[in-house]
Structures are given as C-alpha cells and as structure tokens.
C-alpha cells in the first residue's frame, strides 16, 4: 500500500504546481475569453529568467521571485498591450475572436524559437541549495522543492482570490470578465484591465518558473509540455474557474503519479488525453464551469 500513498503524495505535490500553472491560463481566459496558446512559452520565459538569475547571482531560487515575478508581469502586460490588443480591437464585435488564438500561437512560435536561437536546444539544470532535498514522514518521501511548490500554490491562490474580491482593480477585472461592454460603460478601461489580467497571468508563470527550476530541466520547448497540460487542466476544471484549475491540476498530477506505478509514462500521457476527451464529451463545461452555451 505504501507505494500508492507515496504516489498520491508525489502526485498531489506535482499536481498543485500544474494547478498553479493553469491558474494563470484560467484567469486570462476568464477575463479576455481567449485561450492564450503562448501560456507555456510564458512559463518557459519564466524558467529561463529564474535560471539566469540563479546562475548569475547564485541566490536561492525563491529569492529570485523578487526579480522574476515583476519581470514576467511586465512581459505579459506589454505582450497583451502591443500584440493582442490590436487584434481584440479589430474583432471587437466578435464574441469569441478565434483570431486571437492564432496570434497567441504566433507568439508561442516566436518565443520558443528565439529562445532556441539564443540559448540552443540543450537541457539546462541549475544546482540550488535545495535541489534533490527530501525528507521522510514514516515510509513516505516528500520532495522539499515540490513541497515549496504546493506552498507557493496555496499562497498565490489565496492572494489571487483576495485580490479579485477586495481590491478595486480586482473588482474591475471581475466586472470586465462578466460583460465587457457593460464594464466599459461603467467607466472601466477594459484594455487596461486586460493588460493587468494578462500581466498577472504571466506573473504567476514566473512563480511557477522559480518553483520548477530546482528540479526541472530548462529547454526552449519546455513550455509545450506544460501548455498542453494546462489546456487539459482548465477544460477539466472549467474554463475560467480558479478552484477548477487547482483541482484539475491535482487530478492530472495523480493520474500521472499513480499511473506511473503500473505503466510507462507515455501511456499515462495517453490516459490524460482520454480523460480530457471524455470530460469534453460528457461535461464540456468542466467540473467547476458554469453551464454556458459552449
């Protein structure tokens, strides 16, 4: 039985990090109604940023957050402002502009391949003070960096919910996500709200980047792995739903870790796709999504 409990613990820890990554995606979708296909690439940028901060200064990866998170915030802010906004404006009378999906996939291709051109295709690892650290509770081994990941997820989620509920900007974001026309009539500058929401979404990817580098490789297409996972997680949990993203992340983490006890990891990948398609067919709104005319 121990190996199952071990798998549940590891799966939950890793799944919470997936959930954190999906949180940024679901926030952006909730507000702008656009799937950000460059989401994984933003994570990749976050991981490279964290990697270089740690490599160049030798600081603790969690200290790198101070640099990486603002950096990613402004990266997302200007990405939305410069690249996505013009398309949204041009398609302002379209309810769900698929053109924006295309633009974000263009961003994905550009980011991944520029990174490939600058840093090369090699896998990079950084040795930090906590790399490979773990502790035991009874028979169960808990990876320290992944535990920090879980803690980061909890802190970020609570902070995000608090921000959306109690701050002026947060309320504006929620208003804009409900009805973008009405919100703009109420004097909310919708595009500024979008910029900030996008900035927060990518800033979260900065957190994920810092959390991941103590135990994960960095390479130009690392985002794709997380991209597809995040898409699956947010649809599973319900696009736009914060608890849905977290729960979806944990479910995927558990499928992977428990599945790994019985089969090779590529087969668990297939199971994830099957679960995803099953959810789409049976309950397209996802576990926590509101029933809408999707």
């Amino acid at each position: 039985m121990d190996f199952i409990i071990q798998a549940i613990v590891s799966g939950t820890l890793m799944g919470s990090i997936y959930g954190l990554a999906a949180l940024g995606l679901t926030l952006i979708f909730g507000v702008i109604k656009v799937i950000n296909f460059a989401h994984g690439s933003c994570l990749m940028v976050g991981m490279y940023a964290a990697y270089w901060v740690v490599m160049l200064t030798g600081v603790n990866p969690y200290l790198a957050l101070i640099v990486v998170v603002p950096l990613l915030f402004f990266f997302g802010y200007f990405l939305q402002d410069i690249v996505i906004k013009p398309v949204l404006e041009a398609q302002s009378d379209v309810r769900e502009p698929t053109e924006v999906i295309i633009v974000t996939s263009g961003v994905w291709y550009i980011l991944d391949n520029i990174t490939l051109m600058i840093f090369g295709a090699e896998y990079r690892v950084v040795q930090t003070s906590i790399t490979g650290k773990a502790f035991e509770i009874g028979e169960i081994i808990v990876s320290t960096p992944k535990l920090y990941g879980l803690i980061a997820t909890v802190i970020v989620s609570v902070a995000l919910v608090w921000f959306l509920k109690y701050t002026k900007m947060g309320k504006a974001i929620r208003a804009a996500s409900l009805d973008r026309e009405a919100a703009s009539l109420m004097g909310i500058n919708q595009y500024r709200v979008y910029n900030i929401a996008f900035g927060i979404g990518t800033a979260i990817m900065g957190v994920v980047g810092c959390v991941l580098i103590p135990f994960y490789y960095v390479f130009p297409t690392v985002g794709v792995i997380f991209d597809v996972k995040c898409f699956i997680i947010v649809v599973l949990g319900g696009l736009g739903s914060i608890p849905g993203a977290l729960l979806g992340g944990v479910i995927i983490g558990l499928i992977e870790s428990i599945g790994a006890q019985f089969m090779t990891s590529t087969w668990t990948e297939l199971i994830v796709y099957l679960v995803f398609l099953a959810v789409l067919f049976v309950k397209p709104a996802g576990l926590f999504g509101e029933k809408r005319d999707w």
């Binding site: 053109e99 996939s105 263009g106 490939l116 051109m117 130009p220 090779t264 990948e269 297939l270 067919f281």
Partner: protein
Amino acid sequence: MTKETLDKILKIVLIVGVFTLPIWMSSPTYLQILILLFFYAYLTTSWNLVGGWAGVLPLGHSAYVGIGAYTSTILFMHYGLSPWIGMLAGGVLAAIVGTIIGIPTLKLRGAYFALATMAFGEGVRVFVENTDKLGPFVLNGPRGICIPLSESFWNFQFMSKVPYYYIILIMLCTALFVTWYMSRIRIGYYLNAGGEEPEAAEALGVNVAKYKVIAMAISCFMTGLAGTFYAQLALYFYPKAILGLDFSFEIAFIALIGGRGTLAGPVLGALILRPVSDFSRIYFSSFLPGLHLVIYGLVLILVMIYQPRGIQEPLNKFYNWILDKATGNIEKKGVKS
C-alpha cells in the same frame, strides 16, 4: 483588350504553365519543392472546409493525415492491397473518425473545439508512438514504417518525381473544384452562415451542427487521402513527421495567413509560406534553427493585425490593379476597384 479577357488569358497561361511545368523543368529538387507546396496547398484547402467556412479552428488535422498514411500502408504491406484503394479506405476511415470526433466537439464553441481537436491530435500521436503492434498490424512506434520498394503504377510508386507532381496537382485541382462547387450550393451558404452567426442561421432553418459535421467528414476524407500520398511519396514515415502539433498548426497557419474561408487563400498561403520555410531550413538551419518558425509567427501576427482576412485580399486588389493598368482602365474604374 478588356480586363476580363486579360484576366482569362492570364489564368489560362497559369494553368497551362502549371500543367506543362515538368516538361521544361526537370530538376527533381525543385520538383520536390513544388510537390510539397501543392501537398500543403491541398491539405490547407481541405482544412479550410471546416476551419475557414464553419468558423471553428481545428488544430488536430495531422491525425487524419496519419490515419490515411497508416491505413493504406498497412493494407499494402499485409494484404498487398494497392495503395490507390488503400487511399480511399484511409480517407473513409479518416472521415468516420472525424465524424465521431466532430459530433460532440462541433457543438462546442471556439476555444473548446480548438482544444479538443488539438488534444485528439496529440492523443493519436502518443498512441502511435507507443504502439509497436496494433493487433496483427505493425506500426513500429516512434520508428515509423518503411514501405518496401516495388515501382509500378498499381503500387503507387514511381522512380521519377513527375507522376507525383501530376497526382498532387490533380488532387489539388479537385479539392479546389469541390470547394468552389460547395461554395455555390446550399451547403456552402449554410456553413458560412452557421460559422458567422449560428443563432441567426438556426432561425433560418439551418441545423448548424449537422452541416458542420458534414463539412468535417468531407474535410477529413480529403485529408486522409493526402496521408497516403505523403506515404507513397516519401516511402518512409514516422509519427513525428506526420502526426503531432507542429504539422497541425502549420496547416492552420497557412490557411489563416493566406485567407481563411476563401478559395485562393490556402494556395496563396502555401505559395508564400512554404518557400520561406524550405529556404530558411536549407540555409539557416545549421546556425539559426527555428528561424523559419519565427518568421511564420511574425508573419502570422502581422497578418492577423493588419489583414485579418489574409493576404489574399491585398493580393486580389493588386492583381485587379495590374489588370486595370495593363488594359488602360485606370481612369474609368479607379485604383481601388
């Protein structure tokens, strides 16, 4: 000479030129580039039936290329069935799978459909990469399949590139004709209407979801045929090459840059983007790998911002302007006719 006659003459010259091309250009390298160009134009034209007209964004069409390639190859290697027949079988299977996937997903709106098709495409790739044998059939997982050489028309294998050139050219012309014909009859009107304003179309008697599924089936059938063509052209294929995200996205990108939902868009898109990717792959791949994808991405974003209807629109205007200029019509009709 009137504008219309000049237009006709130019089009006839183009058609004659394309069909006689192998006579005066014998370099297999360039022929191969053209074959691949037509191959992409054909795929994108097929994609366009769903992605352009039905107003959704399929991002998993590589799955149907794969279904076509594997079906005809397996039938050939195990039962000696001619790939010409296998091609039809692959197309039909792709259409069936496309219908099964389409019925639930085409009811979903934009983002969900894009994600569902994408996940399906990736799922097929992962499945094939992990399967050495499917029942009695050898798939060879990630290593792919090598088709045994035996040149004959019946075996869909030719030493020269010329037959391949004509086969894909005829396939492309057929696909364009089908698209053109469909755009003029009820299904074309219904698809376009349902893609743009589904509620309004439904109120006018259009069962939007049903027509989308029909479009999906036709599109997947045509895409499946392309899979067999690719397998017979390369005689060796593996999951990374014909399945997976990059391939699916490339098809969608070409359509969107060329002009979604238009007849000429896919062809123009392939005409402009394929050389970019071929040449940057040849000349820059050693020191700047991925450059062509950066260019793709940049072109895509710029087109989406400045020409959301694709480059076919300015090109059309330019063509008309040239025609006007050449026939001295410029004063009468104005530059922006």
